[in-house]
Amino acid sequence: MQYNWNWGVLFQEPYYGWLLSGLRWTVLVTLGAWTIALMLGTAVGIARTWPNRAVRTLGAAYVEIFRNVPVLLQLFLWFYVLPELVPDGLGRWLKRDLPLPEFWTAVLCLGFYAASRVAEQVRSGIEALSRGQLQAALASGLTLPQAYRLVLLPIGFRLIVPPLTSEFLSIVRTSSVALTIGLLELTAQSRQIENYTFQGFESFAAATALYFGIALAATLLMHLIERRTAIAGMVGKGSLGGV
């Protein structure tokens, strides 16, 4: 088989611009989804450990639903089915007037999905603390929300920085499903370059390198955060100092 290598295409317009634009969408979708995942996932993770049983059940139901339905199917449900289910006015707005519908749908879908995974990490972080920590906080007169905010979450989050980083990287990878609803993110753009130039190896290699670059940056950032927030005498999940 004859293959004409031409790494130069990667640096030619418009292909160079396509790659950068794809990278930009991948980063934007990931950051948007991550914001939702962190906020919603923290709330659901707290619900999973809350003393009230009804709250715990609601949290568990959320996790089971969003974690177990394939992301691709969830994406189609958000994109094609949701506009038909909501009241007419809203449905029409979603279908016709929502700016960047592929982008916002991908952000919401990935955010809600990743929230279910973040929630499990948050729950395990909180559960890694001894019950005594919560009791000590409550015994001092703190309310339950204060005990979470001031004691359980600050310790729990420190314990789960590494698994949260994996969840973040998993969104980066999963974000490529957005190409199925027409978002021209990194994978889609590399495929498009292949279609136009037949330089598939180069374009896919470029996309791979860019995904790898994102992963590397995120991992470095994680190490920095981990070092900055480290608690003396505490390493990783479940090993509380002095107990």
């Binding site: 000590a136 906080a137 409550l138 015994a139 007169g141 204060q146 005498g233 100092g241 002095g242």
Partner: protein, 246 residues
């Protein structure tokens, strides 16, 4: 209103099907020191955690300064803020320095300013002999030091009573006395307290009354001298002879 700071009457508690408190009563007057002893699993921890509502109970009642702990309408955080608690495993917050451990509740519950809370914390640290440890983290302290910080943390709320759940049983033997000294000094200053402990030397020296629990019941509750000289229940006799041998 009686002078009892803590009054428990006929408290019954189940963990699922397990009946762990079977009608426990105890009255603690202002300034009184009550020691609770008894074999492991007899319900001592559960009982004192019922006193500040950390554990719910199903029957009977507990009044703290006349306020009913089990009543749904009771503001439990407010009630707990008036009772200090010290745990077997210290339970200091590992992500906070010693001084932050002590000032957390005064700042967030009593709404003290940081400066005011820190002044109070430093005074308490001097009192428990740890004035130089204010910036240390819990993991940098010995068990005995951690427990003294935990006592200072509880005292920072200016409680009307203190609950101790086996405060020395997780400590290496050489650290027990430094913690008992602090608790004994508090007792001498007139702090109202309930102390779950097997340190019978401490009980003899500091307690006004000793209660003996076994299998979810308070079998005995008598003035200290009487308890040691002439324990009534056969179970407490056996327990005492076993524990005093070492």
């Amino acid at each position: 209103m009686s002078a009892a700071v803590i009054l428990a009457e006929g408290v019954e508690k189940w963990f699922g099907a397990a009946h762990v408190l079977k009608g426990c009563s105890l009255s603690v007057s202002r300034g009184e020191v009550v020691v609770i002893c008894g074999p492991s699993g007899s319900g001592k921890s559960t009982f004192i955690k019922c006193m500040n509502g950390l554990e719910p109970f199903q029957r009977g009642r507990i009044l703290v300064e006349g306020v009913s702990v089990g009543e749904p309408a009771t503001d439990l955080p407010k009630l707990r803020a008036r009772i200090g608690m010290v745990f077997q495993h210290f339970e200091l917050y590992p992500h906070k320095s010693v001084i932050e451990n002590i000032t957390l509740a005064p700042m967030h519950v009593l709404k003290r300013s940081r400066g005011e809370a820190e002044d109070g914390a430093r005074a308490l640290l001097r009192r428990v002999g740890l004035a130089d440890k204010d910036r240390a983290f819990p993991s940098e302290l010995s068990g005995g030091q951690q427990q003294r910080v935990a006592i200072a943390r509880a005292l920072a709320m200016e409680p009307v009573a203190m609950l101790f759940d086996e405060p020395t049983s997780a400590l290496d033997p050489e650290m027990i006395s430094e913690v008992l000294d602090v608790i004994g000094q508090l007792a001498a200053e007139g702090m109202t307290m309930v102390v779950v402990t097997h340190e019978m030397g401490f009980a003899r020296a500091a307690a006004d009354r000793v209660a003996f629990m076994d299998a979810g019941r308070v079998l005995e509750d008598r003035p200290t001298a009487e308890f040691f000289e002439n324990p009534e229940a056969g179970r407490s006799k056996m327990f005492l002879s076993k524990i005093l041998r070492h």
